[in-house]
Structures are given as C-alpha cells and as structure tokens.
C-alpha cells in the first residue's frame, strides 16, 4: 500500500490565486441563484389581491420626500380650485391638504395613478402627472401652514352637529376600545405617534373623513396596506364613525390628547 502517493499533486498556486478563484466562483454562484430565483418568482403575483403598489422601503421614502417645492408650487395651481389656494378646501367632502404628511399624500397620488384608489376627479388628474410632478406637488402641498385665515374661503373647522358625540370620539381617539380591539386613532394619526405614510387628521374636513371611514367599512376603498383601516372602520359603529369625523372636522384633534370633551 503506497501511502504517500497522491493522485492530485499539491498545488503550488499562490494564496491570492485561490482567493481570486473563490471570488469568481462565488460570483458565478450568486448570478446563478439570482437567475433561478427571478425565473421561479416570475409568475407569482398572478391571482393576488394587492391593496397598493406602494411599499415603505427606504428607497421609496427618500424618493417621495425629495421633491422640489418651488416647482410643486407652480404645478399645484391646478389643485387650488378644489383643495383651496391655502390647502383648505371650500367644500366638506374635499380633503384639506395643508399640514398633511408628505408620504401620505404621495401614497394617495401613487394609488390614484395606479387606480388602486378610485376617484372620478382625482384619477385622471393623478394620471396626468409624471412621477416627478407627484413628488414636487407633494413637497409643496405638505409644506402649507395650518394657521387660521379669516379671509380664506374654507369650511374647516366646522361646528359639531351633536356635541354629545364629543365624549365618544375623544375616548376612541385617545384610548380606542380595548375590549373590541380598536386601537386609538392618535396612536397612528398623531399627535401622539405616526406610522409611516399615515395621514395626519388634525386639520381634516369631517365630511371627507366620514366618507372615507364608510368607504373603508364597505370595502369600496381598499388601498390601505395590510388592511388596518378596513378592519377598524368595520369595527366602529355608524354612530362612532360620525362622532370621530365630526370631532376631527371641528378642529378638536389639534388639542392635546383627549383635552376636549373628556369628562
């Protein structure tokens, strides 16, 4: 038995030659895996229900918040007619844009463009904007201040129809309803905390909010990522939806947590 006989002679290659070979092999393997993975996942999204094509990846967040506000101010002239020159609309069912979060408006415009959120008015308008236009408009609109202006033709704030609603709303907004699993509004919509891409409600019109809550509850609006608003709006009673919408529409959400109406 010849123990010292080696079938493969010991390599005299240098360490760096081996390192280079290893790197080339690793890159080749990576390319192969990538190709396989892309091929395997090519037909995945065929039958899936996608609420919105927006995902809050860091790339999207940077892209959405790097707009040119001056260019946006020129483009936003065509928003004035419905949303008001100062970002406060003159009719209750049109949303106010002043003081809204950059990412929130950006997401809605993206969803209007991709028809994930449908609106007869906003659909064609959003489709006419390029991706850069959207980012610029959003940069301008979200920078609008929320100061009161007596000379502006705005409906916000609107007096509550039923002052008794205020206690229900303030309780839901501040504490939610743990028994039913309803989280407090202000845990995501401010001022206590915000989730990424969630709109601030503090200066929003009540009528618009009510319409949206009902649309979420009826599932006619389905562009919320991982369906939080569809679930919560569905858990709220008709009365509570009205109460919350009126509370925010009256500008009471601007005050610190539960200051108004808490007894």
């Amino acid at each position: 038995m010849r123990r010292n006989k080696r079938l493969i002679p010991q390599s005299s290659r240098s360490f760096y030659w081996r390192l280079r070979t290893a790197i080339i092999l690793a890159l080749a393997l990576a390319a192969a895996f990538t190709a396989t993975s892309i091929l395997l996942h090519a037909g995945d999204g065929a039958a899936e229900r996608i609420p919105s094509y927006v995902a809050w990846t860091p790339e999207n967040i940077v892209a959405a918040s790097s707009g040119n506000a001056f260019r946006g101010s020129l483009l936003a002239k065509r928003c004035d007619h419905c949303h008001g020159a100062e970002g406060f609309s003159s009719v209750g069912w049109t949303p106010n844009l002043a003081g809204m979060n950059t990412l929130a408006i950006w997401k809605q415009l993206q969803d209007f463009r991709s028809r994930k959120r449908t609106s007869r008015a906003m659909g064609p308008i959003a489709e006419s904007l390029s991706a850069r236009d959207v980012v610029d408009v959003v940069a301008y609109v979200s920078a609008l201040p929320v100061f009161p202006d007596p000379q502006d033709n705005r409906v916000f704030p609107q007096a509550q129809a039923d002052a008794a609603h205020s206690a229900i709303a303030s309780r839901l907004i501040t504490f939610g309803d743990g028994e039913r699993g309803i989280p407090p509004c202000q845990a995501c919509h401010g001022p206590v905390a915000y989730k990424v891409g969630v709109p601030s409600l503090m200066t929003q019109n009540g009528e618009y909010l009510l319409n949206q809550l009902e649309a979420f509850a009826n599932r006619t609006r389905t562009n919320d990522i991982n369906e939080p608003m569809r679930v919560i709006a569905g858990l709220l009673s008709e009365d509570e939806r009205h109460a919350i919408a009126e509370y925010y529409g009256a500008g009471l959400g601007l005050q610190p947590a539960g200051a108004a109406g808490a007894k």
């Binding site: 360490f15 990576a30 895996f33 990538t34 396989t36 993975s37 892309i38 995945d44 999204g45 039958a47 899936e48 229900r49 996608i50 609420p51 919105s52 094509y53 995902a55 809050w56 990846t57 860091p58 504490f175 939610g176 309803d177 743990g178 028994e179 039913r180 699993g181 309803i182 989280p183 407090p184 202000q186 845990a187 995501c188 206590v192 905390a193 989730k195 990522i225 991982n226 369906e227 939080p228 679930v231 919560i232 858990l235």
Partner: protein, 198 residues
C-alpha cells in the same frame, strides 16, 4: 549557588508565559480569517430589510418574508390571510401582526383539528397571546413563526398582544372563534379573514 541570569523580562513570571508569547503565529492566516469574518458579518448588518434580494432570499429560505412588502404578494398577500383548509383536513391560519392590529381581526377555525398557525409582523415585534392560557406566539418582522394548535372545545378565544409594540399596544386584541368541525364552512378567498361566514 548563583541563580541563572534573567534573559527575558517576562521570564520572571515563569516559563509558561514566555512560551506563550514566543509561540509562532501565522499572521497571514490569522489576518485572512479575521478579514473574512468581518466581511461576512457585514452581510446581515447592511440592509437587513432588503431580504427580498434574490440571493439573500434564497439563503434565508421561504420563512423570511420582507416585512415592508408583505402586501405586494407571496404567502402573506391579502387573499392568503385567514384560515385555509388543507387536503388532510387540517387548517392553516396565516396572520399578520402590525401596529396595532392582528390581521385578520377574527379567525374562524374548526374544533378538534390540527391548526397550523403561521404569523409574521409588518413592523415591530408583537406576540399573539391567548388570554387565560400561557400560550403565546411571537411575531417578528422578517420571520415567520409557526405554532401547532388544536382546540378541543368550541368557543371564542380572546387574544392580545403580549409584547409592548407602541402607543396602541394595549388595545391590540383580536379573537379566534372555534366552531364544531361539521359547522366549519369551506371558506372562499374573500371570506377567509372574517368570523361572519357561518
């Protein structure tokens, strides 16, 4: 007798110390190992959230969905959530925990049948705890946690989040409704995530 002269300053501590210091070290090999270890350690540290990148996705396997893109497709797309009947009679339940909700909010499962719970998180770490028991399933972003459950009695099981996850944590509750096996309907895609279907 004259003591031997001290040749090395550390010899005063005994021969073992000196031996260890003078041991041959293959510095090049050590350096290669350290540099490789450092470079490898960068892989998870650089963009952990981009685990949908094909190579990392392949390396980590299918149990690591990207928390930011759950809704764009894959196992936790909207239409896959809720309870799904398997061919062998068991039930698979897919859930997303997010701030501050469990989605679907109420889940219907049959009694006396194995329930495979698969849960992931879209943002923070949550924990799905069954109230009145010591059963809790953690939901972490970027990972799927599995639990095998079997409910012997029909009834409504309340669940709550048992891992502090933010401002609305204490209101993060949901329910799991167990119905007798023969009452469990074959759920279509739209009604899977609800308890209303009876």
């Amino acid at each position: 007798m004259v003591p031997a002269a001290v040749e090395h300053p550390l010899q005063a501590f005994g021969n073992r110390v000196v031996n260890r210091i003078e041991r041959n070290v293959n510095w090049r090999k050590l350096r290669t190992i350290l540099v490789t270890a450092f470079l490898l350690s960068l892989i998870p540290a650089t963009r952990y959230y981009q685990i949908d990148e094909p190579l990392l996705h392949w390396l980590r396997g299918p149990n690591h969905p990207d928390p930011l893109t759950l809704h764009l497709g894959g196992e936790f797309a909207e239409n896959n959530l809720g309870s799904e009947q398997n061919a062998d009679g068991s039930v698979t339940v897919r859930m997303i925990a997010e701030q501050y909700l469990f989605v679907p909010h109420c889940i219907l499962v049959p009694a006396g049948v194995p329930v495979h719970l698969r849960i992931t998180s879209a943002d923070a770490v949550h924990s799905l705890a069954f109230i009145g028991t010591d059963i809790a399933v953690k939901a972490s972003p970027g990972a799927v946690r599995e639990a095998q459950l079997q409910f012997s009695n029909p009834g409504e099981y309340k669940t709550a989040c048992r891992e502090f996850c933010g401002a609305g944590h204490y209101a993060m509750r949901s329910a799991l409704k167990v119905v007798p096996k023969e009452q469990f309907p074959v759920l279509s895609g739209d009604e899977r995530g609800t308890c209303a279907a009876q």
